[in-house]
Amino acid sequence: MLTAIVIDDEFLAREELTELLQESAKVNVVAQANNAIEGLKLINTLKPDAVFLDIQMPQLSGIELIGMLDPETMPCVVFVTAFDQYAVRAFEDNALDYLLKPVDPKRLDKTLQRLLKVKHNQEAPHTQAQIDALTPKILQQVPCLGHNRIMIIPLQEIEMVYSDLSGVHVQTAHQTASSQLTLKTLEEKTDLLRCHRQYLINTKSIKEIQLLDNGLAEVVTLSGKLVPVSRRYLKTLKHMLGII
């Protein structure tokens, strides 16, 4: 039995696919999401074996979503689309599985056989090359969940990102929002710079660096927020800013 999440912005499309999956008796649909940002959260918390992912969704597309997943906990991704010539060509070029709407149960069964085999053999569901070929290398914006709302925050507005026990938080001049992306993903896919084990800083929003004792430092951002800099990262930070 596979665990799966269905992500599609259309209610009926989600329901239809969920019912087809349940009927197959091979899959247990553990959750549904009506947008990619919710979907990202569910993937991170539920860690399903497979994700059935619509491509065209508001705010964040299915393809953008997989670029934000942590490669280490990457589930098997099956794209589901009504008609998207460019995406379909990209999937075929990179040997990624996809289903066409309306979904044909026989075709779905083939996919499920393959997914079961991958799970049984404990293979990695996707190679990094496949993911890289499909997704943009650099993120221009970060999807976030605020209080009862979803926000897409442009990178240049972010002053810093930090993690604590409750998750990853994106700090702009005016607000804080939670992100489902890990610090590691953000460090790799954006030009935010690591300045502390728990902090990334946007070098463009540094107002000043106060040097403290013991080789520690503190960054003051343009909006006056304090960001700790650990000994280990101070050198890199200075180097990036052209201070030797």
């Binding site: 912005d9 259309e10 209610f11 009926l12 499309a13 329901e15 239809e16 019912e19 009506n34 947008n35 065209q56 508001p58 705010q59 009504a82 008609f83 998207d84 066409l100 709407k101 309306p102 979904v103 979803i150």
Partner: protein, 558 residues
Amino acid sequence: MHLVPSLLQQMCVYLVLAYMLSKTPIFLPLLNISSQRSHKFSCYVLFSLFCILGTYFGLNINDAIANTRAIGAVIGGLLGGPVVGFAVGLTGGIHRYTLGGFTDVACAISTTMEGLIGGLLHLYLVRKDKSYLLFNPLIVLAITFVAEVSQMLIILAVAKPFDRAYTLVSEIAAPMIIANCVGAALFVSILQDKKTIFERYSAVFSRRALTIAERSVGIWSTGFDGSSAEKVARIIYEETNVGAVAITDTENTLAFIGIGEDHHKPNTPISSKYTRQAMEQNRIIYLGARESPYHCSISDNCKLGTVLVIPLRAGKKVVGTIKLYEPKRKLLSNINRSMGEGIGQLLSSQILYGDFQQQQTLLTQAEIKLLHAQVNPHFLFNALNTISAVIRRDPNKARELIQHLSHFFRSNLKQNIETVAFKDELAHVNAYLTIEKARFTDRLTVEIDIHEALQERLLPSFTLQPLVENAIKHGISTMLEGGRVRIYSERNGVGYNIVVEDNAGQFVPALGDKQGLGMEIVAKRLVHFFGDKAALQTECEAGKSTRMRFLVPDQVSS
């Protein structure tokens, strides 16, 4: 020296005669440096007469004649070429010889010589392509001077006894040189005046060109073919009074009107190599001069003797030629090169415009077809997916959706409908929106409020539905929830504004992509049908709303 006034008097009589003759058609061939044999012959006769006249008007001096014969000989040669010059000189010389006297031989030789000198200058200037200098009085003055000086030298050399010859020459040299040089120069300036008057005719030609332009407007809009070519050829034939007019495309003669209609038949392949040459080199070819005489390529009995072949262009591409003909006998040609160029340019731009009009019609048809074909496949497959899900839970609702989908496709497939009544277009929009509402469930609400007065009004097909589709595709589908589309009419002073509004506010001016093309066609069709005031307008408040509106005016200006 007393001879100078007497000879000048003679010269005046002589010039008055020349002036009077210049008023008659006999003179006209002289004005064009023509190579036709008949023109050469009339040139010979005319100047031989002037030569003989010069001798008769001469003054008897010491058994010799002081005269203005040289004028005829030199100008004869100058305008007729070396052969004519030689013949005129010889004729004048022989005539002088018959009058006797001790200089008879010398005068015969020298007159022939003078004709030849004029002829050689003609040859030189024509070869150098400077034949316009033949009518320059100063050049003529100079060459007559040369001719007269050589005459004096010949008299000294040939006439016997030398003493008498010497006395004669010293007496007549100066008066004769002066009288002949001035006389020849004035003679030519009479010709030149005549030529100027003749060239004013081209003003008349321009007026004709304008008439042709006026009469031939719009004829090519059906395309460059036999029937339009015949109409245009007839207009040009009537307006220019040329012998015949032909129009060809790149392969065939499309129309031929005028002299030679009996053997120049329309719809026959082009037989003249000059026509092909004119098209290949994209230049006007004139046939009728000595270097390039015109011979009809079809019949030896053809009466046509001159032709101007003018290439016709549509843009840069040569699409055919127009040919103007004159018959062989005709002295005064109606054909004039710049007139030909004018007609060529005129017809070329008309053909281009006709082409453009034709393509525009085709384009509108193509655009409708494109819109028919532009049923968004994404919409289609999503609709089918939605219906597939609905079947499971509510078969009746599914059946209803299939009805709407059928309605949508049926109205999309109605071929070649230019206009549609508002109520029908609204039904089409409604079918479309019913499917989209099912698909987006609670994410989409729709409000339609179009004034009753508009229901029967016509609007161009494929204008309202694409705007609604655009609002869904680029507006509502980017929203997580709470999408709203409003379609309503607003009364204003000159008609009703039709507004399609979404609350996404995601409008980005298109950069020539597919979406941009669709909206561009909609905008064009609206303006085309309702006039400039109906131009599609877009307002966007980012994140709040996008409104696309167009005017349905109370009165449609065509």
